[in-house]
Structure formats: structure tokens, C-alpha cells
């Protein structure tokens, strides 16, 4: 492979510009052709014919937050492993593969322990059961009786 210049990144910029151009042209052409008769009823949020109650921007299930935290760990680890993976074959070819196998296995074991930890914590279950154990129930009963 020949040396890299920034020339090869030119299509990336051009394609992004084309995407912007397509959106601008499409929306502009639509603006010219389409009817425009706004009314309060039309601009209501769709709730199957009922008047919308409140806003949609409200508290949300915390599960989504946990998933994104777990994702960040895995994604960063994956991103860090890419350069190692790319030079792996060359190291194997000159007989130095054991170093990279070791480092890759350390990385992967971090991920494996991560997923085992999340799993045992119950963070991978979408629907978590909050049923109390018998001990906890008895404890609560004890508190109640004291009161």
C-alpha cells in the first residue's frame, strides 16, 4: 500500500456534503409543491385521537441508563483492541505473537469479568424481580411488630 495523504478522505467530506444537499433540496422542493394549511388540531401530538396529556419529556425507565453504561465499557475496550488486532498477524509472522496473545487475552478477560459481574448483579435482566427473600420479609415483619 502506498503512503497515505489526506486526499483519500476527500470522498468522506463530499458524501456528507451530498447528504446535506439532498436534504436541503428535497425539503425545499417539497416546500414549493406541497399545500400549507396548518391548524391547531393538525399540530397536536398523535395520541390515537385523544387530546395529549402532559409532555413526553418526563422521567424514564432507568434500565436504559444502565444499558448505556455497560455499552460504554464494551465499546471503549473494543476500540482499544482494534489497533492490536490489526498488527497481530505481523507479530505472529516474526514469532512475537505470544506477547499480543497475552495482552489480547487480558483485555478479553476484563470484558468477560465485566459481563459476569453485570450478569450476577442482574443488570442484564430487562425486567428485574423485586420479590423479597424470606429473611428480608421476616426482618420487615420484625420492624413492623416493634412499631
Amino acid at each position: 500500500m502506498t503512503s497515505y495523504t489526506l486526499d483519500v478522505y476527500m470522498p468522506v467530506i463530499i458524501l456528507m456534503a451530498l447528504a446535506v444537499g439532498l436534504v436541503v433540496v428535497a425539503v425545499f422542493v417539497a416546500q414549493v409543491l406541497r399545500p400549507f394549511k396548518p391548524s391547531a388540531l393538525k399540530e397536536q401530538a398523535y395520541e390515537c385521537g385523544e387530546d395529549p396529556v402532559g409532555t413526553a419529556w418526563s422521567n424514564f425507565n432507568v434500565r436504559f441508563y444502565v444499558v448505556s453504561l455497560v455499552f460504554i465499557v464494551f465499546d471503549v475496550e473494543g476500540a482499544l483492541m482494534f489497533p492490536v488486532a490489526a498488527i497481530f498477524r505481523k507479530f505472529v509472522a516474526i514469532g512475537e505473537g505470544a506477547v499480543l496473545v497475552g495482552s489480547l487475552l487480558v483485555f478479553i478477560s476484563v470484558l468477560v469479568f465485566g459481563i459476569i459481574y453485570c450478569w450476577s448483579k442482574g443488570d442484564l435482566d430487562w425486567v428485574r424481580s423485586f420479590q423479597l427473600s424470606e429473611d428480608q420479609v421476616n426482618q420487615l415483619k420484625g420492624i413492623e411488630e416493634k412499631a
Binding site: 500500500m1 486526499d7 399540530e43 409532555t55 490489526a86 505481523k90 430487562w126
Partner: protein, 399 residues
Amino acid sequence: MSPSINDYLNQFEAHRKAIGFISEVLGFDASGLVTFLVFAVASFLVVNVMALVGGLGTYAERKISADIQLRQGPNRVGPYGLLQFLADGVKMLMKEDIFPAQADRTLFNLAPLLALIGVFATLAVLPFSSGFTLTNLNIGVFYLIGVSSLVGVAVFLGGYSANSKWSMLGGMRGASQIISYEVPVTITILSIVLISGGMSFGSFVETQGGFPHQWYILHNPFTFIAFFVFFIGMLAETNRAPFDLPEAESELVSGYHTEYTGMRFGLFALAEYIEVFVLCGVAAAAFLGGYKVPFDLGNGVVFVEKLGLPAIIGKNIGQLLQMGSFLTKTLFLYYVVIWVRWTFPRIRVDQVMTICWKYLTPIALFNLVGITLWVFAFDGQSIWEVLSHLGGGAHGGGH
């Protein structure tokens, strides 16, 4: 494989002469300008072909679903209803654009734009053939994974900005699903990087061969599993059934694009269909030998030497064969994606997360360990080469 389409053209005498001629006429060195023009024209071409693929994708989707459900499908506009997607496009242009009163207008406008930017930018590295790849970035697949996650941002923004409950639910589901399935997809791609020894699509495809036993899907038992992990992850990343929860019409009306009308909705749909094609292309390049043609017909040497054709024609016949090979594999996977959509029922949201985190991710990690050890133990040889060594060269497989 040439680093970009510009380098591919530069090897031809005619192209260099044309640059010289243009430089003479304009009175300055025009090679930079020509480079830009080559990239611009090629990008424009690719975008147009992809828009056509996206349009025909909607047609194919309806025709195949009609076949599966014993219906006719679109058959009025044009021969066999082939022009249906143009009629749909015109209809979307004519539809009134409605902004929900309570929406965040800036983000509402931005979301389809982000989706389209993310999808179009991935086209830059898609290897159609060894010459016609817009640019063979040395970080190819890493770049593709990064840029395509813009679509996830767009899905979430689209759902959030509309301030409608259906949209919000769809957007949240979409975001969590897309980022979750990125984990197994990234890890399976990582295992292919391990075997091929490079992150560019050039190194992915050039280290494979034209015949199925030289493809990475049959390289060793682990890659065979990795292909299916990738394919399932890909379905979820593109919100295709059975993972189409972000736009589940029977429970969330239309999910994250409930409040979108007219052209904005059309742009979302276009981005989605092109993304399916792009990811099918990635699967074909990484696992199914990409643009490789059997008997090395792709480099065109045979046409030049045996048939006596001029180099420029022979080479480009080879390029066409390579493009045919790539498109055949990609469109076959596209067909399978549509087939899966109309065959399997949608799964529940907790099952989506279970499949990703409790099945696909551990399997992908296991595969990664397996492939690391395989490459280390057998010096990156495929199972056929290893077997032929064991059998004293009795089986004639390998490169």
C-alpha cells in the same frame, strides 16, 4: 487494491494524458482539481445508485412480502409496478409538512439530516470492486462502525424531539437497541481484523479468495459462528424485523418517526434502506469474499493476455466482474434480510436485550478468544490448509 478510485484511474495512460491536457489548457497543474472532480463524480454516482437501490429496496420489500403472503403486491405503476417507488417519492414531496406544536423544531429538522449523513458517509469505504472503491481508508471498518452510529443518534433525536409519547418510546428503544447490538457486531468485526491483519476493506477482501472455501465464513469453525452473530446484530442495528421494536407499528403506532410527515419521513426511510444495503455489503466483504471472482478473473490479466484486448478494456472488464460478484452477494443478503422480516414474528423488548447481552455478546467473546488462539496456533491458515497439511497435501485446498 488501489488506495482510492483516483489511484486506480491514475494507472491508465489515458487518464494521465487527460490531466496533462487539462493542465496545459488551464495553465496550471490540474492534478489536484482532477482528483477532486474524480471523487466528486464518483461520489455523486454512488449516491445516485444507492438512492435507486433504496427505492427499489422498498419495491422489493413489498413484492417479496406479497409473494410470501400470496398477494399481488404493487403492480399498477410501470411494468410489474417497478416505478412504484417513484410514485411514492412524488407523493411524499406533495404531502403537507406538519410540525407538532410542542416539538423542538431544531432537533426535529436535524434528525433526518443526521441519519442521511451517517449513512452516506459509510458509502465512502464500501468496496464495490478493487478499483471502484471511493476510498480504501486504512481504518476502513473502524471508520464505518463509528460513522454508522450517527444513525443511532438520529433515531434517538427523532424520537425525543417530537415530544410525542410514541416517538419517545420508539427513540429510547432504538437508542438502547442500537448501542447494545453494536457490542457483538464490533467484536465479530474485530475477529475478522485479527485474521486479515488490517482494518481496511482492501485487506479484508484481498486476503480472501474467489471460491467459498477461501472465504472467511469458512475460514475456521469460529468465523462460521461469527458470521451469524454479525448477521443477527446487523438486523438489530438497522431496526429490521424481528428487531423492529423502535418502529413497531402494532404497539408504538410508528415509533420514532410517528410525527414525521412527507419528505422528512421519506428521508428517514431512504436512510434506513441504504443502511441495510451498506451493512449487507460489509457482511459480504468481511465474510463472503467481497468482490473476489473465481480463477482471478477480477484483475483482468486473462483478458489482456489470452484474448489480446488492450489493458484498459481488459482491466475494466475485470472490474465489472468484481462489481457483479460483490452486488450478487450483497443483494442475496438483502433478500435474506427481507425474507427474515416477513417470516419471523417480532420479539419483545426484554428478549431483545437478553439475546444481545446474554447470548450474542458471550458467543462473540468466545469466538474472539477462539480466533485469537487459532491465528496464533496455525499462523492464520484456514482450516482447509491445516487439514491439507495433516493429510500430507492429499486435499488440494488452500490458496
